[in-house]
Amino acid sequence: MALLLRSSWLHPLNDRAAWSQLLSYFNPLWSLTEARARVLEVIDETPQVRSFWLRPNAQFGGFKAGQNVMVGVEINGSRHYRSYSFSSAPRADGAFRVTVQRQPGGRVSAALHQVKVGDWVHLGDAQGRFAPRTETSPVLMVAAGSGITPMLGLLDEMAQMQPQRDVVLLHCVRDAIDEIAHAELTARCAAMPHLKYLLHSSSEHGRLPPAALGELAPDWRNRDALLCGPPSFARAIERFFELHDAQDQLQTEHFGRAPLMVDEHADSQSVSLLSSVQTFTAAAGQSLLEAAEASGLSPLYGCRRGICKTCQCQKRSGVVRNLATGELSGPGTEWIQLCVSSALTPIEISL
């Protein structure tokens, strides 16, 4: 019976997509197919950082503290997503917080900073795993700049579930004005007697030498370590752990995407297929379709001149040049046509 009710023979009566479209005309949050969220509150953390309390609709599948989520906004008619860490723990009413740093030249973060209370945004699924490995071990959190956001979520959860947990939190900021959620963390210290909250200001004391970790948390070797910050910072801390052969106790949450180096002079680039864990190389200027075929794959194709879109597939990361127009793609998830795209960086596609 349930099968019958879901049968496509009854379309459009039971067509979720069609009803969803209609309902969305009345309230975008009533979508039956897409996760979306209403903006409940906007908080200025620093001149460059804003937090948003969001209430998702029923299509959102929930999350765990420390995870991240793709948040999407429409910019000039086209939808763009970026991933942000949850900066709160899950709550009974479903609302959560994300904290967004405005990136120089970043279109999505700029658009998010325009979002007002009552607006709505698109959501992806929560993803990633970033949390202490055990329930009880003492924890060391090392964050730089807006790398503090997943820590805020984890601490929010610990304050509710394990207020006695032993945590050392080290937050590196440029100067006092960049202290995200300083008041919140100070209040956490009152609620969590074994939380040690350390601030390092690089304008006053210079860049944190990784070795200083040993002084700030002498028992760091006994701690489950969590790290989040810009790539150069994260790399330096990781090297410190490797040096002491302690990389096993460290988990790093990568800060956005690692910056992609477009090398116009590279002879070839590697192309990874997400579906089949396969890799092939594409020569500079060679279309991905030709490169895939040369390596024995046979993707669908049609006109081979960029008009029919039969060979279109989703690029998950990397930059490609459109051979027909010369345009460069963005670094993230986008639809590309294999027959007129050539790789400028290593790329990942799903066929």
Binding site: W9, N76, S78, H80, R305, K309
Partner: protein, 377 residues
């Protein structure tokens, strides 16, 4: 009667210059896509939904002939707008840049018995790539009409005015079975297994749409069932007649040219553009006329740039016309009745044996060099 226009052939260097100008135009429009285009297509979706709901409601719950006629017209309008301005254009990828899954070429499924996958192949790949190349563009005459003397005549062509009337009335079915390539199977050039594979998506799609219009909605209407059934039938008929007339005006008008396979071997991008212009023809009309044709009234612009949002065709048309003038290419445009009359005249004329018109042209060697100025007969 005015003379026919002759086909223009250009030197390779001129072709390259033409390609550059058109590429630049395309890039300029691409760069300016944005909010305006997004809200246009969303508004169209809303109008489609509104017209379908009101049309079906009038048919199901209305009383008397006036509400029936209004219901039929509203439903036909919705079906036409959905197929032409939304479905056809979305499936060309004109709105892929919006990154909205409900408006994406790979996932959109339109409200017609033709399966989306079949359409994407026969239309986007074969027709748009090989436009008006005899033997390669299977949309040229749809394998059942002889529209130009270069097609071989057979006695069967004599009945094509009647075949055409049937096709016009049942157009969505013609479109739906087009990519199955039944002819190939009948001639023994396709295995039974492949044929079955090709038929399956069609049966699946057609079955559901037939069920929707002729069983499901009439059933819901209870005692109004006959009224709904007949209304749906007429709405589908109106949609068939309209889309057929518009689509036939796209490539089969009096001055639309055809190409032979050997003429397009190693065709350059410029030559491809040139063929798209000379194989297509435009219709003039009001804004709503253009919308109801899905902007196929700007067939020339659509064939040059199949993935630009359709309303942009109307905007760039003056510029395209100017470029054509500059290169001495005929820009084939006229009112609906003039162009459609040209199509009907072709169907009737070439039902009878006909010989290619004498055409002067430049004969080219294999490398595209000018060999001789010849009369092709």
């Amino acid at each position: 009667m005015s003379t026919f226009t002759t086909r223009t052939d250009l030197e390779p260097a001129r072709l390259d210059a033409l390609a550059q100008e058109l590429d630049a135009l395309r890039l300029r429009v691409k760069a300016s896509l944005g909010e305006r285009d997004a809200s246009h297509i969303r508004r169209m979706q809303k109008i489609v939904a509104g017209a379908e709901i009101s049309g079906r409601s009038l048919l199901m719950f209305g009383w008397g002939p006036i509400s029936w006629v209004a219901g039929v017209l509203s439903l036909a309008f919705s079906k036409i707008l959905e197929n032409m301005e939304v479905g056809h254009n979305v499936m060309h990828g004109q709105y892929d840049w919006m990154n909205d899954p409900t408006l994406h070429s790979q996932t959109y499924e339109w409200d017609i018995v033709c399966d989306g996958g079949h359409w994407r192949h026969s239309h986007n790949v074969e027709h748009h790539n090989h436009t008006n190349i005899l033997g390669k563009d299977h949309d040229y005459g749809y394998g059942m009409l002889r529209l130009t003397p270069e097609q071989r005549w057979s006695p069967g062509a004599l009945i094509q005015p009647f075949t055409y009337m049937l096709l016009a009335a049942l157009f969505q079915w013609g479109v739906a079975v087009h990519d199955i390539k039944i002819g190939r199977y009948v001639k023994g050039r396709m295995s039974r297994a492949e044929f079955a594979e090709r038929v399956r998506p069609f049966l699946r799609k057609a079955g559901r749409l037939l069920f929707k219009d002729y069983v499901l909605f009439p059933l819901i209407a209870l005692w109004n069932a006959p009224r709904v059934l007949l209304g749906n039938l007429i709405a589908n008929l109106l949609r068939n007649l309209w889309t057929n007339a518009i689509i036939f005006c796209g490539h089969f008008t009096r001055d639309a040219h055809v190409y032979m396979r050997n003429e397009v071997a190693n065709e350059s991008r410029g030559a491809w553009y040139l063929r798209q212009i000379q194989g297509s023809s435009n219709l003039q009309g009001s804004r709503w006329f253009h919308l109801l044709t899905g902007h196929l009234s700007h067939q020339i612009e659509h064939h040059l740039f199949p993935d630009l949002p359709a309303p942009r065709y109307a905007e760039i048309a003056p510029e395209v016309r100017e470029i054509c003038q500059k290169y001495g290419i005929n820009y084939n445009s006229g009112g609906f009745f003039k162009q459609y009359f040209g199509v009907l005249a072709r169907i009737v004329r070439h039902a009878w044996p006909s010989r290619p018109r004498v055409r002067s042209g430049i004969q080219r060697g294999p490398a595209g060099e000018h060999v001789a100025h010849v009369i092709v007969a």
